[in-house]
């Protein structure tokens, strides 16, 4: 890896200031993704600002029934939080399905959100990659792409976002609280992430100097009936081929409300709004679920080796909804 300077920030505001001073500085949480990328020379920060102790590492109750997770909270601790588990089982399940116990012990909540999208060519500096070197080309499109995007990709990039936690948070309409040059702001997760378009080098809409301090989850009564289904070849320690975060509110056999998000299919956690719209007010039955899943995947643009993800995503949505509707 390149030589770099290491600094530790006392709090988020200081981290933001330190970031502002060095254009090529990066924030360090658990380091489970960034340090790998530095070893591979994919990331070459001039300075690392350690924020692993700069923000809250706890879950707090928000007025009105929501929860707030400190950015520095370790994934293991977040997954084990009793309130979180009771109110948002989908989030705890997503956390526990990610990586390995050792990595979850180290990884932070904000670090999990900000891990880079994955693709073998991005991680190999001897190969072209538009995300790493804009306009150098995308070998993945014709190459090794079994686990890359089927939705929202661009000619420039078909990488997938690997986080499980973020898929659950996307379904839950979570927002991130950010301290930046212009003060503090709340950004919905759907606006934090972005599709690759013609700027695949940008995974998020964050500006240099932004520091995430919290993740806020609004109250969602029916999220107590929610689940995360992660599909993968290997039973553990593997990124999702496809994952589904779902919450379902059924009254009198009808879908009153629903939240659905997909992982492993796009450059960002994919909120399945088309499927949600197709479900609301309709009978909570398998045929409805199938129609909704098909509608969501209609825009899919699969490639040679990842076309299996289209039926897989549809089946996984249907299965998740069926299981949710069977819950007491």
């Amino acid at each position: 890896m390149n030589p770099f300077r290491y600094e530790r920030a006392r709090d988020a505001a200081e981290a933001s200031v330190l970031l502002g001073k060095t254009p090529a500085a990066m924030l360090l949480g658990g380091g489970t993704n960034l340090v790998d990328l530095m070893r591979l020379r994919v990331a070459k920060p001039e300075a690392l600002i350690d924020v692993s102790r700069a923000t809250s590492d706890r879950v707090e109750l928000l007025p009105g029934g929501g929860l707030r997770l400190g950015a520095g909270m370790r994934n293991t601790d977040a997954a084990a939080d009793k309130t979180l588990r009771a109110r948002y089982p989908v989030l705890s399940q997503a956390l526990l399905s990610g990586a390995s116990g050792q990595i979850r012990n180290l990884a932070t909540v904000a670090g999990n959100l900000l891990q880079r999208t994955r693709c073998v060519y991005f991680q190999d500096v001897s190969k072209p990659c538009n995300k790493r070197e804009p306009a150098s080309g995308c070998p993945a499109r014709e190459g090794y792409h079994r686990n890359l995007s089927i939705l929202g990709a661009s000619d420039a990039c078909i990488a997938t976002h690997p986080s499980d936690m973020a898929v659950a948070l996307m379904a839950l309409d979570a927002r991130v609280r950010i301290i930046g040059a212009g003060g503090e702001r709340l950004v919905p997760l759907a606006e934090l992430y972005r599709l690759p378009g013609d700027e695949p080098q940008r995974d998020t809409t964050l500006q240099h100097g932004d520091v995430i301090t919290h993740v806020e989850i609004p109250p969602l009564e029916f999220a107590k009936r929610s689940r995360y289904r992660k599909v993968r070849d290997r039973a553990s320690f593997a990124f999702a081929l496809v994952s589904v975060a779902g919450a379902l509110d059924i009254r009198d056999g009808m879908v009153r409300d629903v939240r659905l998000a997909l992982g492993g299919v796009a450059h960002m956690p994919w909120r399945a709004r088309i499927a949600e719209e197709a479900l609301r007010g309709r009978p909570a039955r398998e045929d409805t679920f199938r129609e909704a899943a098909a509608a969501e995947l209609r825009a899919a643009q699969p490639l040679r080796d990842n076309a299996f993800k289209v039926p897989l995503a549809q089946r996984s949505i249907v299965r998740t909804l069926l299981e949710l509707s069977a819950e007491p």
Binding site: G143, Y144, D233
Partner: protein
């Protein structure tokens, strides 16, 4: 021939080095303390064929802490370039993607790695050819002299027999590139003292490494010492010497100080071997009684342009089942790829996969239960060599295993369903040859009644250190605590490596013979009294002469239950059971670990392992553990191995057959056959992935 009363042998004794390993006290090659060491980092080619035009190391050389940059321009010349794998930095030619083209020596590993990244290599690139497929141009028959076996065999008339067979199949199986991937990356410390070289090295047999390195540098073998006290797995990738070992020695010579080198996981994919993809056409035919009338196994594999190496996948079919008309063949493509190496039961592992799936297909095609079909085609003698078997426990394993597993005989896929799971069971035979290498050993007795056994054996995580101590204790008729065993150092009596499942058989035989010689010496020369200076006996044990008369193999039967999620097609293996016949089992605990370890690798092979070559660049695209999947704990559920009592007086002094590779053979077939039982779909390409368009 057996001269052996087992007391300690057979017991489930804990590994003698277990506490050291779990507490971190056991030092592996890279951890050996060496004063004033510098660190080496490799620069690899980013083209698959051509040559280096220029190397700009200005940036690297300017970096504080960099000791030397080594390229083909300043690398010491090797005395021998006979072994293409070891010809490192002797010219500017590039023969595969990832070849060593330069290296940096620096004061710290971090500086070495950073400096390596600053080196700019310019290439003249030529078109490369890295794709193996059936019927491609340039397939040829390998030279039997080179590869040490007959590439083709023919008995009778397979074509006619297949035409008139009551039932027949003609199917093709494929396995992908697979990488050995031991947990401990390859590592070497090279230390010169004058013209003498010491290597602390992660390998599967110090003597072989010593010989290769001595040849490469033109040294007398005695001037090279290879020490390898603990090794974290090899699976074949550490049996032969690879270029990085020569590079480390070269670098240490150039900078005149000790040099440490550890490969990264990514580097290992290009530098220490892998298993070639295999394309295996299987043709089987039966008569009205369910007896094989013909069996043909035609194999296509790849080698590199620099060296001929053959995955002998069809060899097992020459021996396994009776059939009057038989044919096997091997064809090879020379590609611009790294040289494939031996990996986890080379030949047998992919060969048994194709054979045992084909046997399942054939059984069902002629409406026989797969177990009954195998038993019906059990040969009386080795059909290939015509020799009798020294012992053959296959039928006993199939029968006993079926009972323990709860096998339900069937002649068609059961397609059972349990909730959302499709459930099936499968069976396959396992086998691996039982061989022995010439080996030497010495045993010394001291006046206090303790013994010192010396042999350049090695424990790569198998438990060999413990098992050999058990053998020595029984051979010397003494308690285990009185035996001190020195292994894993080429300064000890010469022995072959841990490979071909020959380790324990070869080393153990030499130890038993040395113990006998010591007893004899004590009796004849010292009237049974140990003199003050102790007594030592040294023996050289040659090949097993009985191998000329008998066909020697270990056998087994594996049983799998497979569940497939009806929606997502995720495949899980809730139950895996292996019943083995491998002669005398020396340590019940480490043997079970080895057997189920092999089965876990077989499970990995069936469901996950696949290295993908990107034909445009010629590189292995998924060269890390995030992308190259091996089984995790969560994939291994109810797994067990057991064995039948088998007395084989012909194989070696212990009556023990090698079990290092037996466990992996057959597992993937049992799983694939179970998947067919569950779904009615015959998948023939590994890893198994159920399509959605059905």
């Amino acid at each position: 021939m057996t001269t052996f009363a087992a007391k300690t042998v057979g017991a489930a004794i804990d590994r003698l080095d277990g506490p050291d390993k779990v507490t971190g006290a056991a030092r592996y090659a890279f951890e050996q303390p060496v004063a004033h060491a510098a660190y080496l980092y490799i620069v690899q080619s980013t083209i698959a064929r051509g040559h280096v035009r220029a190397i700009d190391a200005t940036g690297a050389r300017a970096l504080p802490g960099v000791v030397e940059v080594i390229t083909h321009e300043n690398a010491p010349r090797l005395a021998s370039t006979e072994d293409p794998e070891l010809v490192v930095l002797q010219s500017n030619a590039v023969a595969y993607h990832g070849q060593i083209v330069a290296a940096v020596v620096a004061e710290t590993p971090e500086v070495a790695r950073h400096a390596a990244a600053l080196i700019r290599v310019q290439y003249h690139e030529e078109p490369h050819d890295v794709e193996l497929h059936a019927g491609r141009e340039g397939l040829y028959q390998p030279d039997p002299e080179n590869v040490g076996f007959e590439p083709d065999t023919h008995h009778g008339d397979v074509e006619s027999a297949l035409k008139t067979a009551a039932a027949s199949i003609d199917v093709t199986y494929t396995t992908p590139h697979e990488h050995n991937n031991p947990m401990e990356p390859h590592a070497t410390i090279a230390l010169w003292e004058g013209d003498s070289l010491t290597l602390y090295d992660a390998n599967q047999g110090p003597h072989a490494i010593r010989g290769d390195v001595a040849t490469a540098f033109g040294l007398e073998p005695e001037r090279v010492r290879v020490i390898s006290p603990h090794v974290g797995g090899g699976f074949g990738s550490k049996l032969f010497t690879h270029g990085h070992v020569v590079l480390a020695a070269m670098a240490a010579k150039l900078v005149a100080r000790p040099v440490k080198l550890a490969l990264t996981r990514q580097q290992m994919f290009a530098l220490v071997g892998y298993r070639t993809p295999t394309i295996q056409r299987m043709r089987l035919g039966t008569d009205n009684d369910g007896r094989l009338v013909a069996i043909a196994h035609d194999v296509t594999v790849q080698t590199s342009k620099i060296e001929e190496s053959v995955e002998t996948a069809a060899v097992v079919t020459r021996m396994m089942y009776a059939a009057p008309n038989r044919r096997t063949s091997h064809r090879l493509a020379r590609l611009d790829v790294p040289t494939p190496t031996i990996m986890r039961a080379p030949g047998e592992c992919p060969g048994v996969y194709a054979l045992e799936c084909a046997m399942d297909e054939m059984a069902l095609a002629c409406e026989r239960d797969p177990i009954e079909f195998r038993i019906r085609n059990e040969p009386e003698r080795d059909p290939g060599s015509g020799k009798p078997f020294s012992s053959r426990g296959l039928v006993a394993c199939l029968r006993e295993g079926a009972q323990r597993f709860g096998w339900q005989p069937h002649t068609a896929p059961a397609k059972r369903r349990d909730g959302n799971w499709l459930v099936g069971t499968g069976v396959a035979s396992s086998t691996y040859p039982t061989r022995r290498r010439p080996t030497t050993a010495s045993v010394r007795v001291n006046t206090d009644g303790t013994y010192r056994v010396q042999i350049d054996a090695i424990d790569i995580g198998t438990g060999a250190r413990t098992a050999l101590a058990q053998i020595a204790a029984d051979a010397l008729e003494t308690p285990l605590e009185r035996v001190r065993l020195d292994i894993a150092d080429s300064a000890l009596p010469r022995a072959g490596g841990a490979g071909g499942s020959m380790g324990l058989a070869s080393w153990g035989t030499a130890i038993v013979e040395a113990a006998n010689a010591l007893r004899e010496k004590l009796r004849t020369e010292f009237a049974g009294n140990v003199p003050a200076e102790g007594v030592e006996a040294y023996v050289e044990v040659g090949r097993n002469p009985l191998a000329e008369r008998y066909s020697m193999h270990a056998f087994g039967a594996q049983f799998a239950e497979v569940r497939i999620d009806a929606d997502t097609h995720e495949i899980r293996v809730p139950r895996l059971f292996g019943m083995f016949a491998a002669g005398r089992i020396v340590n019940a605990k480490t043997a079970r670990s080895q057997l189920i370890g092999g089965m876990v690798m077989g499970l990995s092979m069936a469901l996950f392992e696949e290295t993908v070559i990107d034909k445009r660049f010629g590189h292995f695209a998924n060269h890390d553990f995030a992308e190259y999947h091996i089984a995790s704990n969560a994939d291994v559920l109810d797994i067990d191995a057991a064995w039948i009592d088998e007395d084989d007086p012909y194989v070696n002094s212990m009556g023990a057959k090698g079990i290092g590779e037996l466990g992996i053979t057959g597992t993937a077939s049992a799983i694939a056959n179970a998947l067919y039982d569950a779904t009615g779909l015959r998948l023939r390409d590994l890893p198994l992935r159920l399509p959605f368009d059905i």
